[in-house]
């Protein structure tokens, strides 16, 4: 009857988790549990997701022997080495994308939520889309 029935679940709202700059310019997101999600999921689970994400980003931006080596090698080869090799950062970003997909499948989708990879938002926010809960009924 309704057009909506033919379509995917409608978006009820979106929550944006902003960046946490207290540690400087490194990529880190706030882990504070947003009130909009209170009815949908565990605080602990959410914090665990955010903490893991933060750790992954920290790993991407980590300054250590490996990244210095990569930087020097790149400089010596006039950065042509990246034509055949991925940077460490890109590798970790792929890892993050897989993690987010995994989290969505296991934890968020069953609760009518969707985590958007922050890379799609320019690493500004973690966007969580809250889908309307159709189980409650359309109230028609």
């Amino acid at each position: 009857m309704r057009l909506q029935d033919l379509q995917q679940p409608a978006v009820s709202s979106k929550v944006f988790i902003q960046r946490d700059y207290s540690s400087g310019t490194i990529c880190k997101f706030q882990t504070k549990f947003p009130s909009e999600l209170e009815s949908r999921m565990d605080k602990q689970q959410f914090e665990e997701t955010m903490q893991t994400l933060n750790n992954l980003y920290a790993e991407a931006e980590k300054l250590g022997g490996k990244s210095y080596l990569e930087g020097c090698l790149a400089c010596l080869t006039a950065y042509t080495v990246f034509l055949c090799m991925e940077t460490h950062y890109e590798k970790v970003l792929k890892k993050i994308a897989r993690y987010i997909k995994d989290q969505n499948e296991k934890i968020y989708a069953p609760r009518g939520l969707l985590l958007t990879d922050p890379l799609e938002r320019g690493l500004r926010v973690v966007e969580i889309t809250i889908f309307e809960d159709r189980s409650i009924g359309s109230g028609r």
Binding site: Q7, S12, K14, E61, R121, R124, E127, S138
Partner: protein, 491 residues
Amino acid sequence: MHLGESMRECEYSQISTRSSTPMETPYKKRTPKRKKWEAFPGRNKFYCDGRIMMAKQTGVFYLTLVLILVTCGLFFTFDCPFLAQELTPIIPVLGGALFLFVLGTLLRTSFSDPGVLPRATPDEAADLERQIDVANGTTGYRPPPRTKEVVINGQTVKLKYCFTCKIFRPPRASHCSLCDNCVERFDHHCPWVGNCVGRRNYRFFYMFILSLSFLTIFIFAFVITHIILSSYRKGFLTALKESPASVLEVVVCFFSVWSIVGLSGFHTYLISSNQTTNEDIKGSWSSKRGKDNYNPYSSGNIFTNCCMALCGPLPPSLIDRRGFIEADAPQMAPPTNGITMYGATHSQQSHMAAATPLLQQQSSEPVIITSSPENGTSLPARASLTLGGPCTSLPLGQPTPPTSTPSLSCHEAADMLPIHGHTLNHTHPLQEQAAVHHYLTPEEVPSPPGMLHCGSPLGHSHTVQASFYNPASQDSLHEDSVRGLVKLSSV
């Protein structure tokens, strides 16, 4: 019958959007898929299908290129043969290597993305606006520049809100007015390389000026050597006459050396203290500002700072130039529900984008973008509300609360009712409206979704179709405020 009329109106609009996702208008479907660089909002130029990204003004870059190519060309043609013979062939080889390195780093600096921050999506922008308004609680005039304070390593840093990009700039980011982009770790806009220098291309820029200093000194030194050696045999003037190119090279190099070597030295200092040109010029971390003023980003160790700047991990470009523009996944409830949705499809976004300049003109008044005519009536009553007119254009967009109240209570909606009914000659739509409270528009969120909850007390949960599509009445209703928005949104 009113209901019938509005139903008809509503159906008309629905037909136009029925093609795929609810709010996608037909024209969108007809256009072929474009790449994101084609719709990039900043003032950049793109080449090679988005692979190359430069600033708008590239004239000086070509000058740089010509100067380097010509000088080196002359050097290799007129001086190198002599030098290779008289001294050692290593000279041209070394010169060649330096030249290639300079060229490589120059092109890399000029063509790469300096670290542009993509602009906020309409949803994000609305969310931020909402938070700011809740925090400020101001109405009327454009509020003072929005800032956020954050403590980094014991130092208080102010994060400014960028009105163009609609984001709070990360620390050390700055908005380049020439390129009209926010750039991470913005150093400066360099016309010589025809691009901004920021987080992603700073090391290339530094390598460029460093190697160019070496090259300039190299050429200068060896051209002088050539002339001196020549003049031993043939006399000074003859030597000069025989290779006039050398004179040109000496002149160019002489004037370049001062500026380039000076610049290299300056940037070496910046790198070792982990500052950007921007910060240095402003004296952000200067001890003159205060006793306790120090650079929170510096690791304290010169070597570490250098390593961080030059050998640290290189973040990928955030703007995904070569990706395809896609209409967002269905993000809006179909109009039938009449819910004020907290998201927008692509077409919505374009409207939002169009509408936002107007928003800012109207002193950043929040835009209530709901189809509900109720909201329209609130206009005369509440100065802080601005409304989009025709449903198709600005319906389920980003609701922002009236600044005066965190959430419109049903009480207020009730206030609006009588007026609304009167002006619109539509009592039905109001009653139809409802439905919303059954949907999980988060009630905790202080935003107009709350408003629509008010629909429910009105009675039945009918579809909003009735209320939604009545452009004519809506226009007449809040003509003054939405004049501009209506123009923009009349697709």
